[in-house]
């Protein structure tokens, strides 16, 4: 039982990180039909912004984190939208998919060639301690991640549902033409979602890098996890992506422990295929009208 709780909590913690990445992924899809195949690399990069700031600028950890967040907002939010997504939108979905695949190669290779191909140790935001809870040993990291992720999600939810700005963003996602008629600055709203995505991936990066170490290939698994979480939960609901992420994290951990360590990566994929075939709108999602 204690082992089960341990696995469950650490699974939830990983799942919470997946959920953050999946929420960002889904927001981009909703507002601008961007399927970001570089989302995983977007999570990998901010950790290297931190390392780079420490190494080149010689600043401490926390200032470096600040620099990394600003760099993420500028590069992964603003620049990504302006330089890659905007010129591509009129060409439809597929060229943009290809472009983000190319971007993911670019980011990976850039880190490999200009920083290092080795896994880099990464400082955790809080000291790591083991807490004893009902006989189960739980890392303080896990609790911290869960708290931060819940905070981020609650904040986002508050923003989207509780403020005028959030409602305008939702209107943009649902029907940009009508939103424009109603006087909502659609372009700016789309930009905000890109910035929110940049913020979410930066947060995810800071939390996951101490666990996995910062490495240029980290994005492969993280990106896939984000896709799966978004689809399993439901592509058109923020809470869907959250539930999807949590389910995925827990299932992955349980599968590794109780079914097969070799096939731990396979279980989420099978889950993905099953959900797409039997419930394409996702576990929490609303059925969308199919476009002809």
């Amino acid at each position: 039982m204690a082992a089960f709780i341990q696995l469950f909590v650490s699974g939830l913690a990983t799942g919470a990180i997946y959920a953050l990445v999946a929420v960002g992924f889904m927001l981009l899809w909703q507002t601008s039909q961007t399927i970001n195949f570089a989302q995983g690399e977007f999570v990998m990069i901010p950790a290297f912004f931190v390392l780079w700031a420490i190494k080149i600028l010689g600043v401490g950890f926390w200032p470096a984190v600040g620099i990394a967040v600003v760099a993420s907002l500028l590069i992964l939010g603003l620049l990504f939208k302006r330089a890659i997504v905007d010129p591509m939108l009129r060409h439809g979905v597929l060229p943009l998919v290809i472009s983000t695949i190319a971007l993911s190669i670019f980011l990976k290779e850039a880190v490999k060639d200009f920083y290092s191909s080795q896994a880099q140790p990464f400082q955790a935001m809080i000291p790591s301690e083991d807490l004893n809870l009902f006989g189960a040993v739980i890392s303080s990291q896990s609790i911290f991640i869960l708290l931060i992720a819940s905070g981020a999600v609650l904040g986002l939810n508050k923003l989207l549902n509780g403020t005028r700005l959030g409602r305008a963003m939702q209107a943009t996602a649902q029907n940009p033409s009508v939103a424009r008629i109603l006087g909502i600055p659609v372009e700016r709203m789309i930009m905000y979602t890109f910035l929110i995505n940049a913020l979410l991936v930066a947060l995810a990066s800071l939390m996951i890098s101490p666990i996995y170490l910062a490495k240029f290939t980290n994005g492969d698994t993280l990106g896939l996890a984000a896709f799966i979480a978004a689809i399993v939960g439901g592509f058109n609901q923020v809470r869907g992506a959250i539930v999807g992420g949590l389910i995925l994290g827990v299932i992955e951990n349980m599968a590794a422990a109780y079914i097969s360590a070799q096939y731990r990566g396979a279980i989420p994929l099978i889950l993905l295929i099953a959900v797409i075939l039997w419930r394409p709108q996702g576990l929490m999602g609303r059925a969308e009208e199919r476009t002809v």
Binding site: W29, I35, I84, P87, M88, H91, G92, V93, L94, P95, L96, V97, I98, S99, I101, A102, L103, I105, F106, E109, A110, D113, D220, L224, F227, I228, I231, Q262, Y263, G265, A266, L269, I270, L272, I273, I276, L277, P280, R290, V292
Partner: protein, 343 residues
């Protein structure tokens, strides 16, 4: 001149010149160069198959690399067990045809990004099976010493012989694809891509053709794998990870999806160019990725599309210059110019 550049005669000429060039190439290249060109052909075949599924039938697949892997493992294991190569070759294609047919079923239910993710998941699953099922695939150690075939007394063991064998098989497979594209099936695929609802109402069995597009594209991927196995003679699961599928996808789009020569050009940018651009060294992939992004921005129809745009631009220029010339010599009747302006 401009009309000639887009005519069928021109395409035929290019094709003949290409084949002729590939035939005399071995007399100039060292074995490593031959291996590289043969590698290009194998990738081009796999991309041809994906082009059938993606470019013509419009069904996005991120699993072509997995089919190359299945084909390679099928041929590798069978020939290592002593089965004659032609049998193994056909089995690879047939196996991938069957698996591709099954993979097509999700495409009947979901489209676009959902289909992309199903195929992506499939690709990763295949990789996991290759890596973990050691009793069958030898796990991470891969397959070694795969024999090259002896056909009708022709031993293809040497680099040059195997090069010619690859060239022969590539030509045959390319011809098959060309034939499929021009057949009623190819037309049905395009109808499926352009407007599935209309195709259905016109009596095209879209269900069957969707599955068929997947099965055919996958089986050609399997044949590519069957050529790959004896070409490299050693491979392991990492050769067929998701990266290969994504690379093949990039090849098709960069070359020009839905065009016959697109995959050849796309494959050349992935396989041949890195070797010729040795100066760029480790930075090739970075440069390549940037070029792909720029290409997609300005010309999503790929390199072929870029070429076509250039030709039509030149033609426009020619026509307008002819028009102005004609305007200057108003009254003087010159039938030849009229013909040019009329186009």
């Amino acid at each position: 001149m401009m009309d000639f550049l887009t005519s069928r005669a021109f395409k035929g000429t290019v094709f003949v010149l290409l084949v002729a060039g590939l035939i005399i190439l071995p007399f100039f290249l060292r074995p490593f160069g031959l291996l590289l060109v043969a590698m290009w052909m194998v990738h081009a075949v796999a991309a041809l198959g994906l082009n059938l599924t993606l470019g013509y039938a419009g069904q996005i697949s991120m699993a072509q690399g997995a089919f190359v892997g299945i084909g390679a493992y099928c041929t590798g294991l069978m020939t290592l067990a002593g089965v004659p190569y032609p049998v193994a070759f056909l089995c690879s294609g047939a196996l991938c045809f069957a698996i591709g047919w099954i993979l097509g079923y999700p495409a009947l239910r979901v489209q676009h990004h959902y289909l992309a993710f199903v195929t992506l998941a499939f690709s990763t699953l295949v990789f996991l099976v290759m890596r973990n099922e050691e009793w069958l695939t030898n796990g991470i150690y891969g397959l070694t010493d795969i024999p090259r075939p002896i056909l009708f007394g022709w031993n293809t063991g040497k680099a040059k012989d195997f090069y010619f064998f690859t060239l022969l098989m590539t030509s045959i497979l390319a011809f098959c694809v060309w034939w499929i594209i021009r057949s009623p099936w190819g037309r049905a695929f395009v109808a499926l891509r352009e407007n599935p609802v209309r195709a259905l109402s016109l009596g095209v069995d879209t269900r069957r053709y969707t599955l068929m597009a997947f099965a055919m594209g996958s089986s050609i991927g399997g044949f590519a794998g069957a050529l790959y196995a004896p070409l490299v003679q050693f491979f392991e699961p990492n050769s067929f990870s998701l990266t290969l599928s994504l690379k093949l996808l990039l090849m098709v789009i960069v070359g020009g999806a839905g065009t016959f020569f697109g995959p050849f050009i796309g494959a050349a940018t992935e396989v041949l160019l890195p070797e010729w651009l040795r100066i760029a060294q480790g930075y090739y992939l970075i440069i390549y990725a940037m070029l792909v992004m720029v290409l997609m921005m300005f010309c999503p129809t790929g390199i072929i599309g870029l070429g076509e745009r250039l030709i039509s631009h030149l033609r426009q220029k020619k026509i307008s210059s002819e028009r102005s010339a004609q305007a200057q010599v108003m009254g003087a009747d010159k039938p030849g110019q009229k013909e040019g302006a009329g186009q």
